[in-house]
């Protein structure tokens, strides 16, 4: 631990959910390395976080899904003088219909949502193991809990990430470092802009952010956001197939 001013790396810092979490940490005086693709957007986010109380904000413009992007991690950790929290937030939903017809698009999705994330997670895990402290937080999805016709390729990536993060948590547990997979439900962000958002199930990114910030401090390796999704997914996972198959979800 680096004391009160936590050192935090955020991959996909332009995500609505990640930004909401960063604001809470900023108010606590955190120090950030923010990673996202668009340098102008990084700048706007950085000045917001600084205004809110972040002690230091370094911006790294990078495509997180690029091969070997993870080799950058050590430099980032060095910049912070240690790693308290890494939040992996980037991801893309893809269009199920298009993906089913386009193997290149699938490869690209897997590279972004799974393969590159695995590399970052392993790199972070090594840092945490060395330090014997810190937390890796990865945004998965309830879509990873049971394959559904509406988004099972994305779901497979998120499900895979969940297994990976559980394993890292298991490995780090004896030495005091932590890893957590955060599984949001339906959240109002640009990723879901095209969906109807009328139901009571839809939450704001701030709700997920509160779960993330808490999970960075304590708790088990799997959290749902908002928390009620744990019970919904328990039900969905255990629905008998003959009922499940009739649901258009």
């Amino acid at each position: 631990m680096t004391g009160v001013n936590k050192g935090i790396i955020i991959l996909g810092a332009a995500s609505a959910i990640a930004e909401a979490a960063a604001r809470i940490w900023a108010a606590q005086g955190a120090r950030f390395v923010l990673v996202a693709r668009d340098p102008r957007r990084l700048d706007v986010i950085a000045s917001d976080l600084k205004t809110r109380g972040a002690v230091e904000v370094a911006a790294v413009a990078l495509d997180c899904s690029k091969l070997n992007a993870d080799v950058e991690l050590d430099a980032m950790v060095k910049k912070l003088g240690g790693l308290d929290i890494m939040l992996l937030a980037y991801g893309t939903l893809g269009e199920q219909k298009r993906l089913e017809a386009d193997p290149d698009a699938v490869r690209e999705l897997i590279q972004t949502d799974f393969a590159s994330a695995v590399a970052w997670c392993l790199a972070a895990s090594a840092v945490l193991e060395r330090q014997r402290s810190g937390a890796l937080l990865v945004i998965g999805s309830v879509a990873g809990d049971r394959g559904r016709r509406s988004n099972f390729i994305y779901g497979a990536c998120k499900g895979g990430l969940a297994r990976l993060v559980e394993g890292i948590a298991h490995k780090l547990a004896p030495i005091g470092a932590r890893a957590v997979i955060v599984k949001p439900g339906f959240i109002k962000t640009p990723m879901t802009a095209a969906f109807e958002k009328r139901g009571l199930l839809w939450a704001k990114p701030e709700a997920v952010a509160r779960v993330i910030v808490k999970a960075a401090e304590r708790g088990g390796p799997v959290v749902y956001a908002p928390a009620f999704w744990r019970w919904i997914m328990l039900l969905i996972r255990h629905l008998p197939t003959f009922i499940f198959n009739k649901l258009d979800i």
Partner: protein, 444 residues
Amino acid sequence: MSPTPFISRNDVLSWGRVHRQLQEVAAPRFCDELPALLDGSASTSCLAIGLRRSYGDSCLNSGGAVINMGGLDRLIAFDETTGMLRAESGASLSQILAFAVPRGWFLPTTPGSRFVTLGGAIANDVHGKNHHQAGSFGCHVSCFGLLRSDGSSHVVTKDNQPRLFAATIGGIGLTGVIEWAEIQLQRIGSAYLDVEIIPYVGLDEFWTIAEESVGKFEHTVSWIDCSSRGANFGRGIFSRANWREDEVFTPHDDQAWKNVPFDAPAFLLNRFSVAAFNELYFRASKAKTGIARQHYAPFFYPLDAFLNWNRLYGRRGMFQYQCVIPADEARVAITSLLDGIARSGQASFLSVLKTFGERASPGLLSFPRPGVTLAIDFPNRGVDTLNLLSRLDVIVSEAGGALYPAKDGRLSPEMFRRSFPRWREFLEHKDPIMNSDFWRRVAE
């Protein structure tokens, strides 16, 4: 980055919930998305909107595009020594207070809801309980960024582009998209106020208390019972307050909401339930007569404790009617307005009476001006309600008064032009593709 989409929706309503139409809605998160959105709506029309706390149709653009600015809510810079705050226009007053209060700063003035965006506060040049000292919100705006549909982007101050500045403050979104703004915050010595509650009966008493309070109290407002006649005619509760100096800077908590999740049945609000509520409210407040310490949230934002309280008016929604009457005409005109409303039996319980100060509002279409302002909620009962409001228009216009676009969903073009004599001057600055239901009704 894929372009931000417009989605067709018919559930984007204003606070009054009367108008329901299809609109193309976009919700950007970054200012760099705005030019493409303006381009994309060039063939129809476009309007930047905030948290839709406007009651009528000034934040709606039926059949056209709206850009929901709520995702552009970042702070850009804050100077702890001067209190100058620069933020993106979608930042809500609630977010600004959560940031500023613990640092010992407050908004220069605030409307009766904190769920209003910075852009919306500027575009309606909103007013608060301290108008008699602080003037309108626009008096505290030092500059803003304005994006026009021709692709040009302006940093506007009172000095460098005085006309565009005056057109945009109170410009109900029609001069372009306000991307960010810089405002001067006010230093406070506490998050608490000393609030004095004084019941009054009759307008004469109101005028007396109002006059003696102006110099001594930073905040004044009164609730008035619009349903009673006879001995209780013009009874109300005057409230006046000053900031404390006890250095307690606890901000409000937006998590502590109570929600009204469903539309209430229409019969809930009738003249009997309203009369009963008013009686109860008057008695309860009378019991609280005197001075008490109160946090700024219940003082400035009593209704914000109930998220979506507007749903109590049921599916047909409601109208609010807010007028301002010049001081010389006010006594007579307010009396006839109250009389007309009480006779109709249509008013609900939310009615506010307040005096405005002399400080000039900076906008060409600003509503606040010296005089007295009265705001009343009416459940929407169709033609009956509209006829009543037209009768009130006559009184207001004969007294040389004006109506508030932020609250309006029905005023006539004539009434609009009489309320805002500088509207012609405003036309020169209107952005050709920005438009709203309100504007089409009053100006086209």
